[in-house]
């Protein structure tokens, strides 16, 4: 990485043209020192591009900007660097450069992308967390987008599994979006993971950045898990990109009447793998899981009969007191009392006022 590469990658011309310039001139430095009068010889550059370049040369403070980048502890890898991820180098529309805070994924290890809806259900959340936790506990790197919902949850799960996780952002690598995930952002770095972006530092998130960054998420991974997706969603775009890039796609099945699982079911119908359990996935990937059977057994311990009745009405989807009353035929007092004792015992959880789910 040098100041010329930073100049070239921050230029607002297309990645393809940057790569061509870099290739013709053998380096970004060469591209920087092209005489303005000879720029027209590069046929692929149009009028606007030429103007952009000469303009950028005038206002860009080579050393100052570069020092700023170093100060932010962000490193830059162009696709001509040997460190540039091999997996990503193979995809058709790879980015010219990656800005990385922390580390890049280890190429020797398996990387799995976990993606899904931002407004997800507890069901999706739970499984995203568990899959990520389990996989990362077995040395798999988890790649996602630090977004709300599935993304963030799976990365938290990965951290809980004491593994490394990498976030690909739709903003500059130094811009945490959404703000509420700032804790996660810090934890990812602390655990030796990385924050990756193709956008220059300081770039604010824009809606059109996100579909583009999805190709990097799938590009960096060996396979893509879709946890929950509506029929038209960004996660399906990622899945499509992943298929184009030759990655395997797995989807988590859900209830057939849940609109949040429609996207996943569509993928399965088109031939995506089915996520049944983390162990099975690990087996399919050919990673020995070690002692797989240590999974916690269902909470079927000594519950009183009333508690058993109520517990059987509480499922992984939030249900309210009224529904449980109708199903069990108990009175409001009895149901409430029993729910509270189940909650105190840790079998269920109140996620919104009087809405309960199994833990």
């Amino acid at each position: 990485m040098d100041q010329y590469e930073y100049w070239l990658s921050a230029l607002s011309i297309s990645d393809r043209k940057k790569m061509m310039l870099h290739a013709y001139m053998k380096s970004a430095k060469g591209a920087y020192y092209i005489e303005e009068t000879s720029l027209h010889r590069f046929q692929f550059l149009n009028e606007t591009d030429r103007n952009t370049m000469s303009q950028a040369k005038k206002i860009w403070d080579l050393q100052g900007e570069y020092d700023g980048l170093v100060k932010k502890q962000i490193r830059l890898y162009t696709c001509f660097d040997p460190e540039y991820p091999k997996k990503l180098a193979d995809i058709p529309d790879k980015p010219y450069a990656l800005y990385v805070k922390g580390n890049l994924p280890d190429e020797r290890l398996m990387s799995v992308a976990v993606v899904g809806a931002r407004s997800c259900s507890r069901y999706g959340e739970k499984h995203a967390y568990e899959f990520a936790e389990f996989l990362s506990g077995h040395g798999v790197q988890i790649i996602s987008g630090l977004a709300r919902g599935i993304d963030g949850v799976s990365q938290r799960g990965a951290l809980m599994g004491r593994g490394k996780t990498f976030a690909v952002l739709g903003s500059g690598a130094d811009v945490c979006y959404p703000r509420e995930n700032i804790g996660l952002y810090g934890d990812i770095l602390e655990m030796g993971g990385g924050i990756i972006s193709e956008l220059p530092p300081g770039t604010q998130p824009r809606p059109y950045h996100f579909p583009k960054r999805n190709r990097i998420i799938s590009g960096l991974s060996d396979l893509v898990l879709v946890m929950e997706a509506r029929e038209k969603s960004g996660s399906l775009i990622t899945a499509d990109l992943a298929l184009d890039q030759g990655r395997d796609v797995y989807a988590l099945p859900g209830p057939v009447d849940s609109s949040l699982s429609m996207g996943c079911h569509q993928l399965i119908r088109q031939g995506a793998g089915i996520l049944i359990s983390p162990e099975m996935l690990l087996e399919e990937l050919g990673i020995s899981g070690g002692n797989l059977q240590e999974k916690k057994t269902e909470a079927k311990k000594m519950l009183e009969s009333l508690e058993n009745m109520v517990y059987s009405s509480v499922v992984l989807y939030p249900r309210n007191i009224g529904q449980i009353m109708d199903e069990s035929g108990l009175s409001a007092q009895e149901v409430l009392e029993t729910l509270v004792s189940l909650e105190i015992k840790g079998y269920i959880k109140e996620i919104s006022k009087n809405y309960y789910i199994r833990v």
Binding site: G322, S331, V335, E337
Partner: protein, 510 residues
């Protein structure tokens, strides 16, 4: 005799101030002068009185007339001084029997043709008059029934100035207004009943507990789930109002002139539903000369705030002090105004802006939106809601089930019993209901057995309770135990109370 004085009175907040109306008619340059720190509506009385006297067939002589309203340091407001001024002038002219006027209090507004119009605040004024030992009062005919609610005082209702003169000169006999006949005993007829509501068992139960212990209630649920319907029926399960309570509520309504002239006494617990665009003054009371606000109109009844997060934050904050003190104090440079405000607060809200959370198949809100929505409520305000319950969407089956729902009367019976237990227990203290218990009283009355202690210890660590929620749970559990007639708070009471706790905001929308 050219000088006379007539006793009248005026309202200052809930306080009654007696005003002496002095009239002097003497020879000199003809004119009409009024003094005594008067507001403009009192000053305008000059024209009304002069014309009314003339139009009543009486002579208004071209003399120098001076009216003084004493005490002179107190600002006088309102149109209730018209009649006493007219009487004072006529008395000075020697047309009335001064002995009759001497021990009498007179209030009333005059219209130009001599008719006497109604004025607000008759009930508190007369109650105060009786306490001061006055035996007879002259009030507008429309207000006579209201005045007659005060026992031990003769209320003379007059239709016009002519009638008043007739009575005061002894030519006309008016019998004091009788005590208004109203269904006194017996149950109030709201026309509403809990039997009308299908399903919603948990909400009804929560309402029962809330009323039994005087707890504030927060209903959370999607639009159209019957939150308002439930709230409207809460007054139907209150114990019937005692006469004192009725009188106190009627006084508040009297000040605002909101009483029915035929059946003035308010026998039904008020239910005040406040729109979320209300201002601080509308809610708590206020104005240049403070008048009671909605919280005082809901005295001894229910104040219902629908769409709670839509209220302006500072508007909700004014409720905090009245919720603690059960009265509201409004301070102006002229003095303090105290209004009663012992109400049960019932609030309703959606769980998120679209109302469908946590049903993620239907909810279209982002977590940020939900947080923002809940952020509009302050934690101190949420902390004042003892009972929090979800009102679920009603399914078609529940509507069609045709199950016999419990009537309000049956619920009210249980509530009354629980209230009686509380009255008995707190006799000799200024506590009325479990909701009013302080920390020290709780140690005395809400002692837990060993099992209960264990449960609470577990709940504390498992559910992340705070000291404040802990005390609220104890109070609610006390009420639930009272509903069952148990002297000791048992585990099951605690469990139910734990289920009613208000969710901490940080766990909400997660």
């Amino acid at each position: 005799m050219s000088f006379s004085t007539v006793l009248s009175a005026s309202m200052f907040g809930m306080k009654v101030e007696f005003v002496h109306v002095e009239a002097d008619v003497s020879n000199g340059l003809p004119g009409f002068q009024m003094v005594g720190y008067l507001s403009s509506e009192v000053k305008e009385a000059a024209e009304r009185v002069r014309t009314a006297i003339r139009n009543s067939g009486l002579d208004f002589p071209a003399k120098k007339t001076v009216i003084n309203l004493a005490p002179a340091t107190m600002k006088k407001r309102g149109a209730a001084f018209d009649l006493p001024i007219a009487v004072g002038i006529l008395l000075s002219l020697g047309k009335l029997d001064s002995a009759k006027v001497r021990s009498m209090l007179i209030v009333g507004e005059l219209s130009l043709d001599g008719k006497v119009r109604k004025v607000p605040g008759i009930l508190p004024i007369l109650a105060e008059a009786r306490a001061a030992g006055i035996r007879t009062c002259m009030v507008p005919r429309v207000n006579a029934a209201e005045g007659a609610l005060v026992e031990g005082i003769d209320v003379i209702g007059v239709e016009s100035l002519e009638e008043a003169c007739g009575y005061l000169s002894g030519t006309l006999c008016i019998t004091p207004a009788p005590y208004p006949v109203q269904e006194h005993a017996g149950q109030p007829s709201h026309g509403l009943d809990y039997a009308d509501i299908c399903g919603q068992g948990a909400v009804k139960r929560a309402a029962e507990v809330a009323v039994a212990g005087g707890h504030n209630l927060l209903l959370i649920g999607p639009p159209g789930s019957g939150k308002s319907m439930t709230a409207q029926r809460i007054p139907t399960i209150f114990p019937p109002m005692t006469l004192e309570e009725s009188m106190e509520v009627t006084k508040v309504y009297s000040i605002l002139g909101l009483l029915d002239s035929e059946r003035p006494l308010i026998r039904e617990r008020p239910f005040r539903s406040v729109h979320h665009t209300s201002t601080k003054a509308a809610l708590a009371g206020g104005g240049k000369v403070p008048v009671p606000g909605e919280i005082s109109l809901a005295h001894e009844g229910v104040l219902f705030l629908d769409e709670l997060p839509e209220f302006q934050k500072n508007v909700l904050e004014v409720l905090r002090q009245p919720l603690e003190d059960h009265q509201v104090r409004i301070t102006r440079s002229q003095g303090n105004y105290l209004f009663p405000a012992n109400f049960t607060l019932v609030a309703a809200m959606n769980p998120c802006p679209c109302g469908c959370y946590p049903d993620m198949n239907r909810c279209t809100c982002t977590p940020g939106q939900i947080q923002h929505y809940l952020g509009k409520l302050s934690q101190p305000f949420l902390d004042r809601m003892d009972i929090c319950v979800e009102a679920p969407r009603v399914e078609y089956e529940a509507l069609k089930k045709g199950r016999q729902e419990e009537s309000s009367a049956a619920i009210r019976e249980r509530v009354c019993r629980a209230r009686e237990i509380q009255n008995h227990r707190y006799r000799g203290t200024n506590i009325l209901t479990n909701a009013m218990l302080g920390v020290r009283e709780m140690e005395q009355w809400c002692a837990l057995g060993e099992a209960g202690e264990g449960l609470m210890r577990q709940a504390f660590s498992r559910l992340g309770l705070t000291a404040r929620t802990y005390h609220k749970i104890l109070k609610v559990a006390r009420t639930i135990a009272d509903l069952e007639g148990e002297a000791q708070i048992l585990e099951k009471h605690l469990k139910e109370a734990v289920g009613y706790r208000a969710l901490d905001k940080k766990y909400w929308g997660r």
